[in-house]
């Protein structure tokens, strides 16, 4: 597969872009095939007691009579034109149902990322500098335990501790009423954000610690120290940028993970976003909505992984020689 190599950084980015497009295309086939072709969607939506007339009407609405490829092609064309179909439960275009929710969810993910990334880089670096000392041992044990917990368990524990049972400081649910923006409800955002930060930060911090330890033991850091550079300069100019390389991957994977994690977290807090919309859509068998949300979440996932690969190459010069 020689066409996969060569071309330097620009070539690498182009190849990664093409690969991302191919993956997204296959994802769309998978989403569509699994929702539309497995079994009879009309029956899945209407249930066992559906009358033949209502089954026929819904089949027509979902274009089930046509061959699969035609159905898929129409759906894909709509998708590319920003037409995501009609939500069966709301009887409104999917775009209308989810546009405000998309903003809410994006706000939650961006806020969680903005807090968890610097926090976990700081914890990881500090633990690496204090290797085997109290902070390192305590933080790595705590992070290990937190990393294992399912996020709805974290969320419920936070609710028990901070809003219903032990203390009564924060609201237990965080609905964002239509017409208002998430940032108008600062207090309601605290617990969902905290849950997502706890879900993500342990991984980034652990990778940061491992990466930083490796860099601190490297020859060029020793060289910088022997040159008599102040420790601050050694750490910030020499160690940190190199240690961040592997961390980008993990940050991107974890941000992408947030896109899935919000399903459960938004449900716990009754937060008005695409995650809770997906839970609703699944319960209501609202197939067009499930298809649209699955595509959006998968697209976020693929794009973030793409950005991670590109960022890793850009910050790690020695990887470029392998291109």
């Amino acid at each position: 597969m020689n066409w996969l190599r060569g071309g330097g950084i620009a070539g690498f980015i182009v190849r990664r872009l093409l690969l991302a497009v191919v993956v997204l295309f296959l994802v769309s086939v998978l989403v569509f095939a699994s929702t539309q072709a497995l079994g009879n969607p009309a029956r899945a939506i209407l249930g066992r007691n559906a009358t033949p007339a209502s089954l026929a009407a819904l089949s027509a609405q979902l274009h089930l009579g046509q061959p699969f490829v035609t159905q898929y092609w129409d759906w894909l064309k709509g998708l590319l034109h920003g037409n995501l179909g009609i939500s069966l439960a709301a009887q409104q275009p999917v775009t209308k149902v989810i546009s405000a929710r998309l903003v809410n969810s994006a706000a939650l993910v961006v806020l969680s990322g903005a807090i968890s990334i610097p926090l976990s880089i700081a914890i990881g670096s500090w633990a690496a500098l204090r290797r085997e000392k109290l902070f390192d041992t305590a933080s790595s044990t705590l992070l290990l335990v937190l990393a294992a917990l399912p996020e709805f368990v974290v969320a419920v524990v936070l609710v028990i501790l901070l809003s219903t049972t032990v203390f009564h400081w924060l609201p237990a649910i965080s609905p964002i009423p239509p017409g208002s923006r998430p940032w108008d409800h600062g207090k309601a955002l605290i617990l969902p954000t905290a849950t997502l930060v706890i879900a993500v930060a342990p991984y980034v911090a652990r990778v940061m610690r491992a990466s930083m330890i490796e860099v601190l033991e490297s020859d060029y850091v020793e060289m910088a120290r022997l040159k008599g550079l102040p420790e601050r300069t050694v750490l910030i100019r020499h160690a940190l940028p190199n240690a961040l390389g592997p961390v980008f991957q993990v940050i991107a994977i974890n941000l992408a993970y947030l896109a899935g994690g919000i399903v459960v977290v938004e449900y716990v807090f009754n937060y008005t976003g695409i995650g809770s919309a997906l839970q609703d859509a699944v319960i209501n068998h609202d197939i067009p909505l499930v298809q649209a949300l699955a595509m959006i979440i998968a697209a976020v996932y693929v794009v973030l992984n793409l950005l991670a690969d590109v960022a890793t190459i850009l910050v790690t010069p020695r990887l470029r020689t392998r291109l």
Binding site: E151, V153, A199, V250, G261, V263, A294, A298
Partner: protein, 301 residues
Amino acid sequence: MNPGTGGAVATAGLELATPPVKPSSLFRRSLRLWRTRIGVALVLILVLLAIFGPYLAPHSPDAFIGAPNSSPGGKAVLGTDYLGQDVLSRFLYGGRSILFMAIIATGIGLIAGVAIGLIAAYSRNAVDDVLMRGMDVIMAFPQIMLALVAVTVIGAHAWVIVAAIALTTAPRVARVTRGTAQPVVERDFVAATEAMGVPRWRILTGELLPNILGPLMVESSLRLTYSIGVIAALAFLGLSPNPNSANWGTMINENEIALSVQPWGVVIPVIALAALTMGTGLMGDGIARTAAGIDRARGEE
């Protein structure tokens, strides 16, 4: 909770040295670490509880024994839930299905993932690319998403949930398997067995597999942790094979609304799920550290 990262981290920098460490001896050695001991103890307690709990339950899990959301006392040691059923009995019944489904799903995902990863690593040609890009497509979905899509279309049957978790576990295992098996494929003893005319599948199972069991043990405990989390989360979202049955995830969902009046219906299953996932997490980390330690010692020899 997070897919895909921990395993790669745990196995990063694992240089494989001969002879391979036997999994049983790796596990025994890892028990020298306190974290492994605590992890194993937690897992054992919860597995025993899940298996034998139903025999210890004072009431049937769906018998109404008092007013809804009543506090502990009288017939109900931990109070009653939102319908007036015994919290303790429902808790004792509620671990079995989660644990069984998680173990079966992780097992299937592991076997499939190891097979795909080994074939990809050994093929060294286009098969490798095709298999691993296929795995990338499945990994473009967060684990819970694919389960949600499957449940929407087919329904929340146990086999659908197990299949969805297995399907999303396999690519993550395949990636680790391929990564650790690749350097082994290049080594002389593999070329030697090839020259002896040993059939390919015997090379995969007899030569490659024993050399990657350490990282695979770490990966399995990690995957089991996530499977438990996802299956419990699905139940919490209202998607379990039998919505009325006792299940820790379902219990948390049902009783959360009455949290300020009768916390036990939520607190007890939350503690159980936290202990179980922490246990598998600690166990995996203990094994990973031991494997890394053995490697480091060998590097210095």
